[in-house]
Symmetry: C2
DNA sequence: CTGAAAGCGCTTACAG
DNA sequence: CTGAAAGCGCTTACAG
């Protein structure tokens, strides 16, 4: 049988159909007796309002889009965290979540999505410094929040990881362990230098924090590949500065780096400490030893972004739309006090990290 | 200004509004001249049909739901692969993808989603042997496909990884390398024994293939935790059978296992070979050496599921709805010929896996 | 080949 | 506190 409509409920309850609507939305006062009859009728008919009709007639459709641009970097281990958290939060707030995933430069796709009128608002992920999506959404007058931020944030609502704290936290951790020379496993020069991207900001904060805390940092631009990471290890070994610690913001290369270190008999953390930035828990646990990480709290960011958006859609947001969330330092086994004997990192023939457990 | 409607287009083109609809859907023949005028008008007004109105009036809303139950296991590295691939494929086929993620036992959530009439069909992920969602969707008469399968697949359309091949492929790989005794790093006894879940099927196929190929397999039930994996390593070391290979179907425990092996100076693959089942590429690359894996092709499965569903929705599917996809063996560095000298795996004091590169 | 019109199931002023 | 009715922007028989 066809699903029950609002008219069915009204008939059963002996009221007009608009009364059923108002009972549902609570937008006008209703006597207790009427409300009870309506509720009983809805329960009996197992009534669920039709989403399309609600969307067409009302101003609120109850659907949010999460735009996840791909092609920027590969699928990393923590991305699902954002998506899952956003989905859950949207649901808790009474919204559905449409996952929208196009190449970041396919602005037309986004444009046609919003012009369909299907979604009440959009959460944008992985903003680039000069992200075109911002203009599209602004022009279409679709409310949106950003996870991440473009260079120009005037009038924009965003939540982002505090990438300045990122660098500082990593530096402080290493300096606290007595390290004086570090090696920054970065990405391509281009991403590194782009104005306000996560990498650029992390790199800058690293440089600043290193400067004031007395940690000398050598920057190495590695390809985002396992091979790139192996080459990075060679570069570390060859470095005249003899760094005793590695700070990595290149998940894939880090995998290659760790492999190369193990092959070469270079022990982590005895010979070199490793602090990984923006790495998921699972990936961190797969290495031996597990990696000390400083990562943005993905779930928290996603929840905050959805909350911001929904607050705005429901007209109850007045507070500052900019939120910077501090990254979390999780100390696992890959960071340790700097070697005291000044033995050079990456040296061959070192014994394995057996012993204590 | 408000977005253009079908009436605006009709007026501009000098035709009736139904003609615009038909021009769009192609459900009746239209003269070339008319079609051109309509198209020009649409282009000029930058017209996009309203999704809610289309959904309300027509039978097709153009939205698919992907139900991702959480709480079953944690976020593993390859889950995003399924979600991303499904999203892309849906879009390619002209549908939106609603991500729906509830605890697997929250059948009511699913029920109310479909009774809203928002979605044309549903893709279910991670089916359990006696999955309640199947009954709910069947009763609601909502078309759906499954990634994975329950025990009773009568009348059901599903795509699934061939978990029988999974075990066989792993066994053949190891036997080909001369191994005779393996250790199966499994999960809790309960999941292991449940009728037709992936683990149960993989375990069964492992047992069968091992039997006929002459590989003796010792089963170890580890907790799904890093600690569980460390304990598993101890169990391997203590095993009187002295297994020379590990087959793991427990991603989190495997992380602990690999860590424990490294700590103990047990070299992979010289002392023990490791073959990981259902592990993502990134996680596989994070270990040293990178892991040889046999994993279901997540993207392929997701694409097939979406295709099945859409074919059915569009009435163009008549072929068999059951699809079993072979897992992929990727040989990385963790598997090697069995030790010839019969040296016991897990022995302490072994030298690190330095040397060749 | 094309038009006029009913209807999808809601929301929300407008009356009372 | 409640009802009758217009309208949201489409799709699709029904006529011609």
């Amino acid at each position: 049988m066809a699903p029950a409509t609002r008219d069915d409920v009204a008939r059963l309850a002996g009221v007009s159909s608009s009364t059923v609507s108002y009972a549902l939305s609570g937008r006008r006062t209703i006597s207790d007796a009427t409300r009870r009859r309506v509720e009983a009728a809805m329960a009996e008919l197992n009534y669920t309002p039709n989403a399309f009709a609600r969307g067409l007639a009302g101003s609120r459709g109850g659907i949010l889009a999460l735009h996840y641009p791909y092609g920027r970097r590969g699928v990393t281990s923590s991305e699902f965290e954002y998506v899952a958290a956003a989905t859950d939060r949207a649901r808790e707030r009474g919204y559905h979540l449409l996952l929208w995933s196009t190449p970041i430069d396919d602005v037309e796709g986004l444009e046609s999505l919003v012009s369909e009128g299907l979604v009440d608002g959009v959460v944008l992920m992985e903003l680039t410094p000069d992200d075109d999506r911002v203009a599209v959404l602004t022009e279409a007058r679709v409310p949106f929040t950003n996870i991440g931020r473009p260079d120009d944030v005037a009038g924009l609502s965003f939540v982002d990881a505090d990438y300045d704290a990122l660098g500082r936290i990593a530096v402080e951790h290493l300096v606290g362990l007595g390290h004086e020379r570090a090696f920054f496993l970065s990405q391509s020069v281009r991403s590194h230098e782009r104005g306000s991207g996560p990498l650029a900001r992390a790199a800058r904060s690293l440089a600043e924090a290193g400067c004031s805390a007395g940690l000398k940092i050598e920057v190495h631009h590695a390809a985002v590949s396992v091979t790139g990471g192996r080459a990075a290890f060679d570069a570390l070994t060859a470095s005249p500065a003899h760094p005793t610690a590695v700070i990595a913001f290149n998940e894939t290369a880090l995998a290659g780096f760790v492999q190369a270190a193990a092959f070469a008999g270079c022990s982590i953390p005895r010979d070199v400490s490793v602090v990984a930035l923006s790495i998921g828990d699972l990936a961190a646990d797969m290495t031996s030893p597990p990696l000390t990480t400083v990562s943005p709290p993905g779930a928290e960011l996603a929840v905050a972004a959805v909350d911001h958006l929904v607050d705005r859609l429901e007209g109850r947001s007045t507070d500052a739309p900019h939120l910077l969330v501090a990254p979390q330092l999780v100390v696992r086994g890959s960071s340790a006090p700097a070697p005291v004997d000044g033995r050079r990192a990456g040296g061959r023939g070192a014994a394995p990290a057996a012993a204590r457990r």
